[in-house]
Amino acid sequence: MKKVNGAIVVNAERCKGCGLCVNACRLGLITMTKKTVNHKGYPYAEQQDWEKCNACRACAIVCPDGCITVYKSETSVD
């Protein structure tokens, strides 16, 4: 059996905190920062529990500014 490992990396300085990725993630893994902001003064997206991510790319596709890079790798699990 194969296990899909996924993770995203958000370009925090480019992010504008629109929240569309939070809405797009079906697993609810993305949250906006509550107390920190980037150099533009916007809160930015952060991924929680990256182990649950299945690299579906929905967050990255809906990100208007192209801030999200998606990584995917498959490992076999016996």
């Binding site: 569309l20 790319r57 500014d65 192209g66 790798s73």
Partner: protein
């Protein structure tokens, strides 16, 4: 597997398009303009047209598009992008020439240029961002503003006797003999984004094959102008804007679709 092992270049399955510059886009958070910029950059890169593409910037929010996508650009006077595109395409018929215009540029001050360029069947693609409002200047009423919709210059809602009716310029374009592909798309969900990307690719291919003029309308959100959050703006667009501007192909000579 640790996160450090996973995050390495060979595992990348999606990243910012190569042709989208690193400079921050000035658009508001969640703006559809940035989304369409990203799609245009992706499609041009996939078609290997980086060296053979000329975009025409409008006046409006997208006036700085030349800073964001790494291709050749020409900045046109307000509304005159289709005229500039016609000239460029006649000089370089082997180049992909497209204009990128908002509703104020295309459907208001540039109506004449747009209609005539489409009617002449120039081999260009017009990307039309329709957000039913003048976003850049502060949310005034546009020709495409819906009936009853409140804007800063019609605070009691658009009324037919005072402001006239919304201008269905895409439907008008579909009736012209010079157009080969007229479609209306949106960029609010993953599925809609994929459809828009396909539509852009088809329009660009039509232009390169000299089939006539293509118009891709993208029904967009202007969350700042509408005074909504980006997610709320997407919901409002689905509920209200899609009623007046239903998505789908209006004309596709290849498929024989003429509505």
């Amino acid at each position: 597997m640790t996160k450090e092992e996973l995050i390495s270049p060979e595992n990348i399955v999606y990243e910012k398009p190569r042709l989208l510059n690193d400079v921050d886009m000035h658009y508001c958070p969640g703006c559809s303009h940035s989304m369409v910029h990203k799609l245009v950059a992706e499609v041009i890169d996939e078609m290997n047209l980086e060296e053979r593409t000329i975009g025409i910037c409008p006046v409006g929010c997208a006036v700085f598009a030349y800073r964001y996508i790494d291709i050749d650009w020409v900045e046109a006077a307000h509304g005159r992008a289709p005229a500039v595109a016609s000239a460029l395409n006649r000089m370089w018929p082997d180049h992909l020439v497209f204009t990128y215009q908002g509703d104020g540029d295309l459907a208001c001050i540039g109506t004449g240029e747009t209609i005539h360029a489409l009617n002449r069947g120039e081999n260009i693609t017009i990307i039309f961002i329709n957000n039913a409002i003048y976003g850049m200047t502060g949310g005034q009423m546009a020709p495409t503003t819906l009936m009853g919709m409140k804007t800063s210059t019609c605070p009691y809602g658009r009324q037919a006797d005072l402001h006239g009716f919304p201008l269905p310029i895409t439907d008008m374009a579909a009736t012209l003999n010079g157009t080969c592909y007229v479609t209306r798309q949106a960029v609010h969900t993953v599925a809609a984004i994929n459809r828009t990307k396909k539509a852009l690719r088809k329009a660009f291919e039509n232009s390169l094959q000299h089939k006539g003029a293509s118009l891709v309308e993208i029904v967009s959100t202007c969350n700042s102008g509408w005074k909504m959050s980006p997610i709320k703006a997407n919901e409002w667009m689905e509920q209200e804007l899609f009623k007046a501007y239903p998505l789908g192909d209006l004309k596709d000579l290849e498929e024989g679709v003429i509505k």
